[in-house]
Symmetry: C3
Subunit: 158 residues, 3 copies
């Protein structure tokens, strides 16, 4: 039998939305779906390494790189961010309930074979280089996304 | 013939997005789809009772409970909220055009058999108890959502 | 063979989300999908003409009309808007990389036969008249959306 497919476009660069994306992705992978997370625009920040990677960039690209959160530990909340107190509260209750934090959820997704894709058009525009992204991320464009999505029926834009 | 399925994850806790979710859900139910609204994160606030329900909670959970809007009448807007003036304006034009307000849309969804689900993981994290939710809401996790979604093709994340 | 269908509800009125919607729509059309973009709530602003169109309106409708951005060139960003500097930066990097701007993407969508739909319920509520919208936009309600979406499997809410 053909495997079910699930695709998630992660457009938003906020912790709560990235958590939702990876919880659904890991759930779907556990139910044996073929899962793709395609990060675009601000969502790409979830796949950035958290250390500074020295690469050559133009001025605008440098500005974007500096202003945007570097990696899953730096993301804010879409609501009640309170200058960073909100994310701390969320992480704190998650720890209390032994829920996996975003970096663990990303690792689990990799282990389960979830395909992690970074949108090449976004990388060009925001000036993010491949060496700035965490390991195990593929680079692809909207055509690859559509190829996956058109064969599945759980296709979410987060 | 098998019924078509529509699922909506209501993640956002804003009035405008909740309205969109329930208008689509009621439309789909009218066209004889089996419809599920699965509320998670801030979306859960749409299912809270609007009165205070005395339940035992930890400090962080109490803080979340107090900071988050209690029920559909208290939700803000995703844009042009203007410290609460935006929602009043929207409700006012809706009244003028005899459009159903969110509490009525929720009641109508229940009458049409739309399955209303509260995400148990969110309830745990934010410390929301079953007795704080409006009647007719089922509790379930991401597995139940995926079960429904993988059989339908209109699957939205709002 | 029956054509694949892709539908996008564009709910958000921000430049970055509208760009994502039209990039996906144009991609899907290039792969020979039948594509519908259904704009509702703030998303409708992407279809407004950028000049003032004199029409009779009530006071609340006038207020909404004035406060909301008029057309694709006026939209802000969902993140890092910085009082309008963000959109300028994005447009500037897009120009540098020869990426199409939103007005061009909308024209391309029309040329490729993407169905552009404005939600009649939103038009009523926000007091937007047909003559205020760009040419080539159809008017329809949630029933028409559901008709298209229930025959496709890439159905996104942006």
């Amino acid at each position: 039998m053909k495997k079910k497919k699930t695709t998630i476009i992660l457009f938003s660069g906020e912790l709560d939305k990235a958590l939702a994306a990876f919880i659904i992705a890991n759930g779907a992978a556990a139910y044996d779906h073929e899962v793709t997370i395609f990060t675009t625009f601000w969502g790409l920040n979830a796949f950035r390494k958290d250390e500074h990677v020295p690469v050559k960039k133009g001025l605008l690209e440098k500005a974007f790189g500096m202003m945007m959160p570097r990696g899953p530990k730096k993301l804010g909340l879409s609501k009640m961010n309170f200058a960073g107190m909100g994310p701390k509260m969320i992480k704190s209750v998650m720890k209390k309930h032994n829920a996996m934090q975003l970096p663990e959820l990303i690792d689990m997704a990799k282990e389960q074979g979830v395909k992690l894709v970074a949108c090449t058009m976004t990388m060009d525009l925001l000036g993010i280089k491949e060496e700035e992204l965490i390991d195990g991320v593929e680079l692809a464009g909207v055509a690859a996304y559509l190829g996956d999505a058109s064969e599945g029926n759980v296709n979410l834009f987060i």
